[in-house]
């Protein structure tokens, strides 16, 4: 009966059981974008939850059918707008798979450096906003954003923009990394471990933070696999699956890094996984900088990219999970079909069972710990 109410049942049932149905509406400071959650509450406890998505739908997949492959790169920036590099990458990889393009070595290393920098930046936003949701207001957020500014300055040196980068293109990258860019990345890598320690000093052992996030929103591993959850949420539930290790793409098989795993599956574990992943990303960037070769940054390609008929799917480990692009080409300058497998959308389908039994305050914490970006949920 609770489910009936959640699906828009009659008011009489609600009054009889004293259940309230409210909108944690699309306009809400803690829903990480325009996300609507219809909650059925028994007092403060959530009895049923129904997510409604689509408020940021921009028909990217349809629009891309009437634009050339190059013009579609700008759409990929705007899907997961907090992690543009890692969203440009699978699109480029799908096209390279489709047309058999080989990416030069230097471009591969630059791609890895940029994607790992982007992973750190995305986790900084995730941890900062998660802490803000929990109630630390702005302090950890501004601390992580202080270092994120360094990353955005590096991106500005390399591609002229801070957020919507359009940097990783099919065939390589759009511009080379300038000398001061390499120096800035080197300086960043040197200061970063201390800064991550500082974030941990603010949050990890904070008794209030632990009280609010430990054992909240426990996702059992069987449920995680059943819902196709990927990314830090999956690894916090005990399943050590990371596409960079399971099915290495680009040149990730040349680097030494650990895959952090935790076994409790609560919001606290998801936070700890993201912090540990930031440390591992710093390791990868150090190794990539050390081995960065000189050379071309883009494969030789015709002006108007016109791949032959065919289709390709490329998947990568974005900061939010498995991000995949499926491209179907039919010999024209625009794709026949472009489909995006967004990690936030798939992870969000696991939200409803996590919320049942928790209080309204925990809803915000659980939603924040899954780390969603509505741009890629709705496309």
């Amino acid at each position: 009966m609770a489910l009936d109410v959640a699906l828009g049942g009659t008011e009489e049932i609600a009054r009889e059981d004293n259940l309230i149905t409210i909108n944690m509406g699309p306009q809400h400071p803690s829903t990480h974008g325009v996300f609507r959650l219809i909650l059925t509450l028994d007092g403060e406890t959530v009895v049923a939850a129904r997510p409604v998505m689509g408020y940021l739908h921009r028909s990217v997949e349809k629009l891309s059918e009437s634009r050339t492959y190059l013009q579609d790169v700008v759409f990929t920036d705007r899907l997961d707008y907090l992690a543009a590099m890692t969203t440009n990458l699978p699109y480029a990889m799908a096209l390279e798979k489709l047309a058999g393009i080989e990416v030069p070595e230097r471009a591969q290393y630059v791609r890895v450096i940029m994607c790992e920098l982007q992973r750190i930046a995305s986790h900084m936003v995730a941890i900062g906003t998660f802490a803000a949701d929990v109630g630390t207001f702005f302090t950890p957020l501004l601390y992580t954003f202080r270092e994120r500014e360094r990353i955005l300055d590096i991106f500005e040196m390399c591609c002229g923009a801070r957020l919507t980068l359009t940097y990783i293109r099919y065939g390589g990258v759009s511009r080379d990394v300038p000398e001061d860019g390499v120096e800035a990345i080197q300086r960043f890598v040197e200061i970063m471990p201390d800064k991550i320690d500082e974030y941990e000093r603010l949050l990890t052992n904070n008794e209030i933070f632990i009280a609010r996030t430990r054992n909240v929103g426990i996702l059992p591993p069987e449920l995680a696999i059943a819902y196709s959850v990927t990314g830090p949420v999956l690894r916090a539930s005990g399943i050590p699956y990371d596409i960079r290790r399971a099915e290495p793409y680009s040149i990730y098989d040349r680097f030494e890094f650990d895959i952090p795993v935790r076994y409790n599956g609560d919001a606290y574990d998801r936070y700890l996984i993201r912090v540990a992943e930031m440390r591992q990303s710093v390791r990868i960037i150090e190794q990539a900088l050390r081995d960065l070769p000189s050379g071309e940054i883009k494969a030789k390609l015709p002006r108007l990219f016109r791949p032959a008929r065919g289709s390709a799917y490329a998947r990568t480990e974005s900061p939010k999970g498995e991000l995949g692009f499926y491209v179907q080409a039919d010999g024209k300058v625009e794709p026949y079909r472009l489909h995006i497998r967004p990690p936030s959308f798939i992870n969000l389908t696991a939200l409803a069972p996590l919320l049942i039994g928790h209080k309204v305050a925990d809803v915000v914490v659980i939603l924040g710990s899954i780390d969603i970006v509505m741009g890629e949920v709705d496309r």
Binding site: L63, S66, R67, T68, L70, Q71, D72, V74, F75, T139, R146, D153, E156, M157, C159, G160, A161, T164, T166, R169, G172, V173, S174, R175, D176, P178, E198, R201, L202, L203, T204, N205, N206, E207, I208, F209, I210, I297, K298, K300, L301, P302, R303, L304, V333, E334
Partner: protein
């Protein structure tokens, strides 16, 4: 309590260091410097010596724009080459991706550091040709070439095919006829690209 105490000690330390060494910048009185090749509003470049825009009205930028904010009107002059009547960029619609700058084979578009473009009425957000012109100084050219540094050049067009107007005055080197013909042909070729993007009318 030790976790909370550790956190509070960290913020207290920052309170004192920020008094002399703040992380923030007092915008708008102070501004941070922008990098070379920063993607601000696209601008039309005019040649320093002649004062003419380098644009030859081929409209490749209009068809390269993913959102179609470049509007051009061109017509064919008596000698067969295209002349530019109108060149507008909607600053309110531009996504500052730089694809137009990368597409231009004549080095006629660059991106400047302009991002403070708010205005009090919509009409002001449409930048016409006169407002868009910037001189082809070394700095603007450096920005442009850095933006274009990874791009495949147009097949037959040499990068230095200056427009005929510059030749007529006699201050530029002779541009071979074939180069101009080839550029116009390439432009026709590029116009066949689907018009989900820009408009170019004759």
């Amino acid at each position: 309590m030790s976790g909370i105490a550790g956190g509070m000690w960290t913020t207290l330390k920052h309170f004192f260091t920020s008094l002399t060494n703040p992380v923030t910048v007092q915008y708008p009185e102070q501004r941070l410097p922008l990098s070379v090749g920063f993607r601000g509003l696209p601008r039309l470049v005019y040649d320093l010596k002649t004062g003419d825009a380098r644009c030859v009205a081929c409209a490749i930028c209009a068809s390269a724009c993913p959102v179609g904010v470049i509007h051009m009107d061109t017509h064919r002059g008596e000698d067969g080459r295209k002349l530019l009547d109108r060149f507008d960029i909607e600053a309110g619609g531009c996504i500052y991706c730089g694809l137009c700058v990368e597409a231009c084979p004549f080095d006629a578009l660059t991106m400047t550091s302009g991002f403070e473009l708010a205005s009090y009425n919509r009409a002001d957000l449409l930048w016409p040709k006169e407002r868009l012109l910037v001189p082809g100084t070394a700095e603007n050219d450096q920005n442009m070439h850095w933006i274009m540094s990874g791009v495949e050049k147009m097949g037959k067009t040499p990068p230095s095919a200056w427009p005929r107007a510059a030749q007529d005055i006699g201050v530029m080197d002779e541009v071979p006829e074939e180069a101009i013909e080839a550029a116009i042909e390439d432009a026709e070729e590029a116009e066949k690209v689907p018009a989900g993007a820009g408009t170019a009318s004759e």
